[in-house]
Symmetry: D2
């Protein structure tokens, strides 16, 4: 059911999105329709009040659904985000951010993923997002 291994995904991302290394991502688990992704804490992501910035959380949601989509359809660099909706729920701790992602829909033209984000060691989510990708027509 999965078209790529974790190693293949990491190698694809490093090649096509070299700046992604700055996000300190780590795939903790990958299964059909489910991904758990960790973003290592780095103080450059902070905003006033010592909390992780909103754009940092949005970038994590966006890339998380992209990775899960890649795992299912194989290396398609040109899938593009068409919609992202995020609710910021609580102030994140200055700690690693864990994203729990599941695929709500994997169609021929659209894929939609849901992302719940937690600060490491906390029970209550800090943010929840849904992200839609458009899948280019098969050649």
């Amino acid at each position: 059911m999965l078209e790529m291994t974790v190693a293949e995904i990491q190698s694809f991302l490093s090649e096509h999105f070299p700046k992604i290394d700055q996000m300190r991502l780590q795939i903790e688990s990958l299964a059909p329709r489910e991904l758990r992704l960790r973003m290592g804490y780095h103080e450059a992501q902070l905003r006033p009040g010592g909390t992780l910035s909103g754009p940092t959380q949005m970038a994590l949601a966006d890339v998380g659904v992209y990775i899960l989509l890649l795992a299912h359809i194989g290396p398609v660099a040109l899938a593009v985000t068409t919609n992202l909706n995020i609710n910021f729920l609580r102030k994140p701790a200055p700690a690693d951010l864990i994203a729990q992602i599941n695929l709500l829909k994997l169609g021929q033209r659209l894929a939609i993923g849901e992302v719940t984000m937690f600060s490491e060691g906390e029970d209550e989510p800090v943010a929840h997002a849904t992200v839609t990708y458009s899948i280019p027509p098969a050649r």
Copy 2:
């Protein structure tokens, strides 16, 4: 009606959000409920295919509504984004990004702004976002 001048806003942002300078923002015009903001093109924002990344556009929407809110309520560093919804409409050109922002609502507890983004010199928008900020209770 406006509580801050462009110079006061710029000085407030540099002091509280020093990393914002990397966004190369320029306030092109500011009026009650309306802001036009330019983000200078820089190749570090690119993703594969030569287009500006989604997170770059989301960050512009987020900070744009924040700036327009600041202009109306004065320097409140701790206003926080509670919701952001963005539709990506077209592939942006590798060029400056212009955000046209207007305030849909300015309440006592919530402010909502609408953002339409254009690549410099183009007529069709590249993205459209709505952003909600929660305003902390007055002390």
Copy 3:
């Protein structure tokens, strides 16, 4: 540029969506990428506090973008909504609701419209929505 006249749209809607007559819709103006739609006030739409219900406003946004899309691509009954995001801004008056709709994107697979709603005679919007439709492949 438009594929249908107002009369053709009304006839198409009555035939395919007979219950739409309950919405008391009136197309006030139609031009390329722009539609102004009025929904006649009826007390059945009220919720406690004497205000128009949220679902009534959501239904108006949904059908409004559908009508504007139809006008551009012709009678395609099976275009389907894939995403709707709405911000409720103010308590609507017990009065007609006016929806000002414009098409942000008309692609081959997706169309996205933006809807700003006003109570008759008021300046400040009561709600703002964006609605995405998926367009079925041409046969």
Copy 4:
């Protein structure tokens, strides 16, 4: 932890929202932060193609989060929806619709719920929504 029983909620809704009876709602289970709600199938909700209309699904999401919020804060008729985002995932069957709702956040000013909807007897969700309510200040 819950402020109202299922019977108290039903009685409150019938009194304040008499038209809600048309939705044929049934609370299947209620627990802290979790609600399972069934909407009885009725052909009046159909749209062309024999599928449940989008506004019917949006109304279910909206009322579902309202009911779960009521259960936690007690009878507050004037809590109002401030944002609703919905992704339509699959064509619903002409059958009962089941909404699984959980509370992502219950703050003093805002509550946010997440809704996953299924057609009776199906595994794959037909729609996913997030709904934000503003809670009026305590008197």
